[in-house]
């Protein structure tokens, strides 16, 4: 795959419209709805168990255009969180006891106030997770990142589909694998991935295709063995994440005539145990424009939180949001298939 592809938005694809995406997903014939599956599992309506993770999507700009990206992120995207929204996010971080700040994008480090967000979140005593595509750390203006991560004990969650080049480059772009390995080696040299330093480095793998991820524990053991053997790289945990039928992955499914088959695979694999642990139950997601969402996936489908409560960062109310009803759709089957899937990997 070429290094940088045009985004759906750049191509003026019909699927750059969230309404089109929701419509397409709604038309896929499924054996039962997500709501009915939750009802049978005794989980409907789905409500939060609390808010442990404050996930901030600072914008859609990215130096990569991965084929499976549910954000449709890329170099041509200009959406970036404004100062007003960033200021309010920082106020919320500093005034609540939500323990974890999870920063995502796009490539979140491209936001002009990303460093400030990290520094102030850490100063407020929060654990800070950064969802890093790794290659960003090799760009001249961002070469400071590994040292910055280490200095502020940022928990780095890095994407790598496979421990061998072929699948990684097929999904993320030519040459991405080699650069990712270089970036990981730099992080290792700073103490990342070494259990004695406390500097956490987790890897995220998405299937390079239309199959579901395998057993997370088994894959992690294999990955650790292979990453050490092949590249001398160590990491803490491997998260297996199911590809979500949203944006570019939805486009791929539709283009290749595999959408119905994939949705059937997700629906058939519905697991009530995984459903009980879905991330929307302990996460709140903030969009670049300040709207609140149950998760990053709902954000990308333009499905804000329950309208009966606060809906933007400017009317943030922790108690009210903790009582909200989570907004659902057919894409939610992506988080409940098999061992489940979340930003923290398997849920069952």
């Amino acid at each position: 795959m070429s290094r940088v592809l045009p985004t759906l938005q750049k191509r003026a694809s019909t699927l750059s419209s969230t309404r089109e995406q929701r419509g397409m997903l709604g038309r896929v014939p499924v054996a039962f709805t997500f709501e009915s599956a939750l009802q049978d599992a005794g989980l409907y309506p789905l409500r939060p168990t609390g808010i442990d993770i404050f996930q901030i999507n600072v914008g859609r700009k990215c130096n990569q255009t991965c084929r499976h990206c549910h954000v449709d992120a890329g170099p041509d995207r200009t959406e970036m969180m404004s100062d007003a929204v960033m200021d309010r996010c920082l106020e919320v971080i500093e005034s609540t006891d939500i323990p974890t700040v999870d920063i995502t994008g796009g490539a979140p480090e491209l936001h002009k106030r990303w460093r400030e967000l990290v520094i102030r979140s850490r100063a407020a005593g929060k654990k800070v997770m950064d969802r890093c595509n790794l290659t960003i750390t090799l760009l001249p203006n961002y070469a400071y990142l590994p040292e910055f991560f280490a200095e502020h004990a940022v928990h780095v969650v890095a994407s790598l589909p496979h421990y061998r080049p072929k699948g990684t480059d097929a999904q993320r772009g030519d040459g991405v694998f080699g650069e990712s390995i270089q970036a990981l080696q730099r992080l290792n040299a700073l103490g990342y991935g070494d259990p004695s330093t406390g500097l956490e480095l987790d890897l995220v793998t998405n299937p390079v295709g239309t199959f579901l991820p395998g057993n997370q524990a088994g894959l992690e053991a294999e990955w650790k063995r292979q990453m050490e053997r092949l590249y001398g790289i160590r990491f803490n945990r491997l998260y297996t994440i199911t590809n979500m039928p949203i944006s570019r992955y939805l486009d791929f499914l539709e283009e290749s005539g595999k959408l119905n088959e994939y949705m059937e695979r997700l629906v058939t694999a519905f697991n009530p145990v995984a459903a009980a642990g879905v991330m929307c139950r302990n996460t709140l997601s903030v969009g670049w424009e300040g709207t609140l969402y149950d998760c990053d996936f709902n954000q990308m489908l333009d499905l804000p939180v329950d309208p009966r409560g606060p809906r933007t960062i400017f009317d943030f109310d922790l108690d009210a949001l903790s009582r909200r009803e989570i907004i659902l759709g057919p894409h939610c089957f992506g988080c409940t298939a098999g061992a489940g899937s979340s930003c923290g990997g398997a849920t069952a």
Partner: protein, 115 residues
């Protein structure tokens, strides 16, 4: 049964019907599937290693159902197509080697019969 079902011996839609082999002898099928699942569980070999072995054997016995099932399974267990291709070559090397090594028997016979 429609005529279409007789058009060819192998139909990919039959793979998910594997469980139907239990009809008329469920006690035997139950024993087979219990054993089968135990064989593929993580043990001294990882699930991924067992899946790659299964893929190689599937090619050796040329079972299209098994090739279909274990191509998917290998990917899901974290193997990539390069590793899977090498597994197929292992199967092919054993098959080829098995033919060639029998050439020694041919030599034995010709040695007996020749001058």
């Amino acid at each position: 049964m429609s005529n279409t079902a007789h058009d060819h011996y192998y139909n990919s839609h039959d793979l998910p019907r594997f469980g139907e082999i239990g009809k008329d002898a469920p006690h035997l099928a139950d024993k087979f599937f219990a054993w089968y699942n135990a064989v593929f569980a993580e043990g001294a070999l990882t699930e991924r290693e067992k899946s790659l072995i299964a893929l190689a054997v599937a090619h050796a016995v040329q079972c299209p159902y098994c090739i279909d099932a274990y191509s998917s399974d290998c990917l899901q267990k974290g193997a990539d197509t390069e590793q899977m291709t090498e597994a197929v070559h292992v199967a092919a090397a054993i098959r080829g080697g098995a033919s060639l090594v029998h050439g020694i028997q041919m030599r034995n016979h010709t040695d007996k019969l020749g001058m």
